[in-house]
């Protein structure tokens, strides 16, 4: 029971403080905080259409949060889910427009699988380097993010540049490769359902598979894991690969469902927002669902309150930023644990 309370508080306290600070900011600029917050609530959850928009914004965060949590709970400090998201997204989109359109309905699973495969291969690299050569995973995954941005940026401006648009985008994927929209004309797509399925699979994996149990033990105590016959190296590589699969799937869903193509700036920092969600949720599935929807609501409400009031978009950034500070505090605690272990 106390566990549930703890997980709930993971978000409640940061959010409350963020709202307090933004209320002060609002008062200072002469706005009524209560009116503003109720407007944000309405814009985030007020109607089925607005709710759909929130869930749509939450979709990539669900993928990246789960991808991060898989590694963090195993004590693998992987900050490279953003890179897997980019690589998986581009690979899936390229498959989506270059494979023959005649494949029909099977295009979707094929493209998703391609995205997952590329994501997995991408994070296998730092996983192998860490397990075999003890190359620090924070450094390697962070660097791989830069490489992913550079590679996808190059490809989308060169070999895969759309001839029609010429504007840093690939051609659109075949219609058959698009994920179905759940509430047209809104952008909520079936990738959200896939994200929920991944979340459930994660919950199942952590509690009901031998490898999931081992992940937690390796995260808690590597020496213990070795003594009870768990291969720490294998567990680390598996966590990275699974994280890459989820990140790559997330990118694929974003490309096939949201944008229908790959663009420069494909990921709006989803990997890092997802990391904050995983950190604040302490890797719990329910906590990550709440966190992703919360950040999704902030993003979707933020873009529209500007239209209906004098409140600047920066307010949303303030709220997000303050919640992020708590994520960074959590990060610092993990960092201290890492150093103590080493």
């Amino acid at each position: 029971m106390s566990n549930w309370l703890d997980r709930g508080l993971g978000f409640a306290v940061p959010l409350l403080i963020a709202l307090l600070v933004s209320a002060l900011v609002l008062l200072a600029i002469g706005e009524n905080p209560l009116d503003t917050f109720s407007l944000m609530l309405t814009e985030g959850f007020g109607s089925p259409r607005r709710l759909a928009s929130t869930l749509s914004a939450a979709t990539p965060l669900l993928f990246t949060a789960v991808g991060t949590a898989i590694c963090f709970r195993a004590g693998v400090f992987n900050v490279g889910v953003d890179g897997a998201f980019l690589i998986g997204g581009l690979a899936a989109v390229v498959a989506g427009f270059s494979l023959p359109a005649e494949l029909g309905w099977s295009l979707v699973p094929i493209c998703l699988a391609v995205g997952a495969l590329f994501g997995a291969a991408w994070l296998f690299i730092p996983g192998w380097l860490l397990a075999r050569l003890e190359v620090d995973e924070v450094v390697s995954t962070l660097m791989l993010n830069f490489i992913a941005v550079a590679i996808t940026g190059y490809l989308v401006n060169g070999p895969f540049l759309s001839r029609q648009s010429g504007n840093n985008v690939t051609p659109p994927v075949h219609e058959a490769a698009e994920l179905s929209r759940l509430m047209p004309p809104g952008t909520l797509h079936s990738g959200f359902l896939l994200a929920l399925a991944v979340l459930v699979a994660y919950a199942f994996w952590t509690r009901r598979t031998p490898a999931g149990l081992e992940g937690a033990w390796v995260g808690l105590n590597r020496r213990f894991s070795r003594v009870v016959g768990v291969s720490v190296q294998r567990t680390i590589i598996l966590a990275m690969v699974l994280s890459g699969i989820v990140g790559g799937l997330g990118g694929a869903a974003h490309g096939l469902g949201q944008l229908h193509r790959f663009t420069d700036g494909f990921s709006a920092g989803y990997g890092f927002t997802g990391m904050a969600v995983a950190l604040l949720a302490h890797n719990s599935p329910l906590g990550m669902l709440i966190g992703a929807i919360l950040f999704g609501a902030l993003a979707s409400a933020g873009t529209t309150i500007q239209l209906f009031s004098d409140i600047p978009l920066d307010l949303v950034n303030i709220i997000q930023g303050i919640v992020m500070i708590f994520a960074v505090i959590e990060l610092g605690r993990i960092g201290i644990r890492r150093r103590v272990k080493a």
């Binding site: 149990l213 033990w217 020496r223 003594v227 016959g229 768990v230």
Partner: protein, 508 residues
Amino acid sequence: MTRIALGATEIRKSYGSVLANQGISLSVGPGEIHAVVGENGAGKSTLMRVLQGIERPDSGHVTVMDRDVSFAGPADALAEGIGMVHQEFMLAPDLSLLENLVLGDEPLRWGRGAFALIDWQSAEAQGRGLAERIGIEVDWHRRAGAAPVHIQQFVEIIRLLRRGSRILILDEPTAVLAPQQVNELFDLVRRIREDGTAILFISHKIGEVMALADRVTVIRQGKIAFSAAVAETSGEEIASHIVDGSNPVGGEIRRGTPGPVVLDVAGLSAEAVEKSHPLHDISFAVHSGEIVGLAGVAGNGQVELMEALSGLRQAKGRVELAGIDLGGLDAERRRAAGMGYISPDRRHEGLAIDASIEENAIAGSHRASPISNGLWVDRGAMKRVALERLNRLSVKYGALRDPVASLSGGNQQRVVFARETAGSPQLLLVSQPTRGVDLNGIAAIHSILRDFRDADGAVLLVSEELDELQMLSDRIMVMAQGRIVGALDADADRREIGRLMVMEGVGA
């Protein structure tokens, strides 16, 4: 004339129910080196913390230069001239040795306070003078982190002398030094002694105590076990007091009936953990139905041997378990071959202390039937297995989901035994099984070990408690400096065991 440079009288200090110091008295005079020895957890560190003003004793008092003093904090002790050289050096690695020397008490010129300049010439002159006085050479402009460890240590000592310390406490100063550096340190300490500085020398290496100290005091279980002038005692006598138990654990002594060979080790060698000894060409056998005790002063290769046997440490040589060659097998395969391992470090290796009692009880069996079919975990079966194991060894716990950290030390250790004996292994490797366990828990763990032995199990037992070894074992081997130096009957004379434990000299 000063008779007592630093003295402790009837110091008592307890932490909760742990009586760390139970009336300790000792003193060191000017120009004297007084060694304090004892096992880890004997109470040495607590005493030193009291002498440095870090801890206040519950009762008793400290004497400095024949005056009773009371320290409000470490600064008071420093002001009284007590300086401590820690095991881990306290130098700032990115500053030069000279900067480290004067840090916190810089010689100044031109002006005062924050506006003054540091007089580096005078600082260097002071450093050179002090180094010359104790007969060493220091390159003062070297970065501290880049200087050899013994030079760093010398600079720390010089720094304390410069600050006016007349009493030095050296906390296991040789732990990080090579043999040649140890000799240099000892020469330096002897020269400091000639200046009339009083030195408390904390160690658990008996050879060093014999070589350096004038007087030796053995602390065991929070009390003074022995104190004598070094000239009037011997290494064997000191060793026997370090391990000698004053309150033996109750329980009958019952020997086993050995059967065929279970563990056969030949020519085993392995690298050392820090501050310890590598293994040299170790050969022995353990039979079914017997407990073989391994005695030795801590840090003589016991940890290395157990890790090499359990597959946690790379090793050369032949290890056979019931005729099966374990060469090249990792810990996972050695477990599967029928080996259980009770780690000496329960909190950091024996258990995942923040994981649930349930998971700690079943870890290692989580991939096999009935808990798993290889793909999925059956939580119901997992719970049943955990309950069955915990009940078999009567572990007392609140709920299966509670973290194992919520249990007492004795019950934590029972969880480890419940897990490691569950698959009926042929061999149990057991290290320090009763460390940090209360008396009832000790009796229970002893009977678990005897029951395992009586069911034809083979046990290799490492313990720093000689009582425990002699009560449980069917025969005893003694380890010193990474070698097995002797094999005796379990009821052999302790002085003989003590003699073997200190077989070789300093740094050999």
